[in-house]
Amino acid sequence: MKRIALLGMPNTGKSTLFNRISGASARVGNWPGITVDLASAKILLGGHIAQLIDLPGIYDLHGFSEDEQVVRHFLENNAIDLVVIVLNSAQIDRQLSLVLQIKKLNLPAVLALNMSDEAKHAGITIDTESLTTALNMPVVAISAKYGDGLPKALQAATQIISQNKTATNPQEIAQLLQEDSQIEREMETLVARHVQIPATLSDSTTDKIDRVLLHKWLGLPLFFAAMFLLFQFIFTAGKPLQDGLAWLLEMVRSSALEPLFANAPAWLSGLMLDGIYNGVTTVAAFVPIIILFFIVMAMVEDSGYLSRAAFLMDALMAKMGLDGRGFVMMLMGFGCNVPALMGTRIMRSRPMRLLTMLVIPLSLCSARLQVFIFMITALFTAQQAPIVLFALYVMSFATMFLTAILFQGQYKNAEPFLLELPPYRFPTARQILLRGWQEVRHFLNRATKFIIIGVVLVWALTHFPTDVPPASTGTYAGQIGAFFAPVLAPIGIDNQFAIALIFGFVAKEIVVGSLAVIFGLQGDALTAQVAMQIDWVQAMSFMLFTLIYTPCLSTVATLKSESKSTAYMWLSIVWSLALAWVVSFIFYQGARALGY
């Protein structure tokens, strides 16, 4: 099979081009020599099946950033038949360097001058024909967003592929990459001969928008308002979708699965329905939120606003060893931790990404909010309720900052903060929908098995041995609770609430439901029972523990798949459990010492 690599600088629309050519058939996978996953797709080119690989955006083949090393290692370890170089026509004066570097490697290449519409708008004219001769490679002006020029570019690619030349020799490439070049001078001559750029660019729309959105004092309030509106959109639009999906899954359960297992032994129907099927519904509950989140994220990212958010928030985030882009994800975590963790993929530096992923699970997500509302209603008056909830939000931010500051030495970011500010662009619907779909598939592929196994395990712990009532203190879960009593007693959590915390490891959404099972009560009776069994200090301690310890199995699964490190996953679990215990301990013992 022929192999075609897509290469270009960041913000040149390379991934847009990739998505346009590959459609929805893209897959992420491992490659020899590199540790990050790359998207690739099988495409048909003039009778050949070719594999198209989307390499990370880089500025320089010889650079030292992680992405630049990924591309280098890819070329040094994988033979390829063609490179399609994607440039932003509006910045051709500086991006040609990458083309010349590829040429030096003797790689068969096609040059796609993307965003030809923007270049035209800026008054830049490029003579593609004379440039084709000068570079000795096909040069085609395209617009990946609208598809202009694409057939011509693909035709040029087909022609090269059909010549059936031998693929590149990775060892040779490795050697050539070490030799340095006189690329800069060559580039300047080329630009001088073949490109005309007006001395000053016209006062563009981007500048006008930036004057407002990056305003010294208006910028931040506008940023927070925009984020708030986007979250509102995700969760107002997501709620009915989640409810509808839950209703559908419940229908399937009650009308098809329950009759099917009616005559099966209790353990089998329990395993199938409360174990595996509940696992499936847990996974499904995340699908609408992930789709909506990435639709919104794709809009924010493709429009160019994400870099602006980084500009606005960087001063504060730099002090914690994070950067401005991380803040957008931290905020997102307050809706749902899972897509926020997946979203950190926009950060190219691995240490900074890991630090951000360690911080995100501490944000008070909407599922934890449900637990807090139940507990607060049970134990606090309507006047106290908002104060308690506010205190929990403050606590959430405090633990996030504390974690970032404590761990920033461990995850030292070596990459300088140098970011291009692209002009504002309108993202297209196709790109946005494709992104949402790809992310959901990624989540389902990586997390489903892990989550279902976890749910089955918790079901088994809370339903065996079978001679005691489910979720009672006699079950294995109850025995674990009793085993940990010496640890949980100092923070005011008794055996029954300990079982609820074990359930909460699966998902915070089921904590309240598990209390209903544990006490065998529903609705107001349950609220009354909880209010009778514990006082407000214990309730607060329970809420603090719930806030800080591992949010849910889906988050754990995502942490593992995104970091590709089991050790990192355990670090996150242990750290959040330890922090949760210490905070609850200080609060509980402090309050008791003060006489509450």
Partner: protein, 75 residues
Amino acid sequence: MQSLTQLAIGQPATISAIEADESLFHRLSALGFRVGKPLSIIRRANFNGPLQVRLGTTDIILRTAEAARIHISTS
């Protein structure tokens, strides 16, 4: 010798020297920061945050720590 951090907003200047280790130097030059190139500061973020610099056709944001490595001359 003036560093980029001292440049006033909107004032045109030319890069006279870049003092950075190899990896930062590479990143800067790949983004277009080269000796002799004209540039200007578009805006600064509050609380000593990053600078927005315009270099030819490209806008770039960078922190003051990195900007301090770039020496400029004004005409």
